[in-house]
Symmetry: C2
Subunit: 179 residues, 2 copies
């Protein structure tokens, strides 16, 4: 049940509506955890029943009402317990890798196009992460304590995208050397 914890981390920083959370999950935390608004709304109402978060309905003018969620003491306790629990090794899942395994059964041009598209995707994300890093953490040597986590996660994103990019380049070099 990790979406719950991702939400607690996000709410510990700042209270937010489900809609806000969905947008945050497209950016910062979303680097390593995606969630749709449907999932978030459902999880939030479960968490409210469990007492981990509290709600306040806020009326706005010119915009629909919103429900602002805040982390409760019980939520903080849950979060602290989770943070103290050892993390299980991640399982990678790559559809592209499964396809590449079956390279000899596939049309070479289709694979090349697919890998090129993936390469482009890695390039874009890498550029985005690098820009964020320069903008929000220009001085990595002197980070405020509450900024270290965000910086570390961004670096993780950069390293993973670089690895993905390098992999695509290797694959393309192989596929092109072949003919």
């Amino acid at each position: 049940m990790a979406l719950e914890h991702a939400i607690l981390v996000s709410l510990a920083e700042r209270s937010a509506s489900g809609y806000d959370l969905a947008r945050r999950f497209d950016a910062s935390i979303g680097q390593f955890w995606k969630a749709s608004h449907q999932q978030i709304y459902k999880t939030l109402s479960r968490m409210e029943s469990a007492g981990q978060v509290s709600v306040e309905v806020v009326a706005q003018d010119g915009r629909p009402d919103k429900k602002v969620y805040a982390i409760t003491r019980a939520g903080h306790a849950e979060l602290a317990g989770w943070l103290a629990t050892p993390t299980a090794p991640e399982v990678y899942r790559s559809e592209l890798a499964v396809k590449l395994r079956a390279l000899h059964l596939a049309d070479r041009d289709v694979v090349v196009a697919d890998v090129r598209a993936r390469r482009e995707h890695h390039r874009e994300r890498l550029a985005y992460y690098e820009a964020s890093r320069e903008r929000y953490y220009p001085d990595a040597e002197h980070l405020a304590p509450e900024d270290r986590g965000g910086y570390i996660v961004l670096r993780g994103g950069v390293l993973i995208e670089e690895a993905g990019l390098a992999w695509c380049d290797e694959i393309l070099a192989q596929l092109e050397a072949e003919r």
Copy 2:
């Protein structure tokens, strides 16, 4: 429905029982696709109803009977269709990254222990992949066409583990510089 396709790729190489597939998924394809035996058995029986695979019950002496599955013509067609479909970008999911984001809320020693354990895990997998690569693909310059896919996937595994390892080292350096 990607487990289905991973199974088709595996069966296209060699017919196998559910049990065999579960073990293969712990090794080669399992690098990028894990599945439990329960999931595999269920998926296989669905695929049989759909006509993508055929079964033959094989009696063995001293061991339980087994059901050997083989890919059918319809299965090959399904596989070919899937291979020709563009692959959607992967979503990374890292519980550790979410925890690291909340670094300032956590006990430093617990985090360090967690990252050290992760580092060790990356190191082990990297060693395993490197050993496999040297053993099965000693000459990367001259690969048989049907071996290229496996080699490429192994290289992907190596690159990802290296990136994970580098990330852990960076994190540990930061956390140790800090006190």
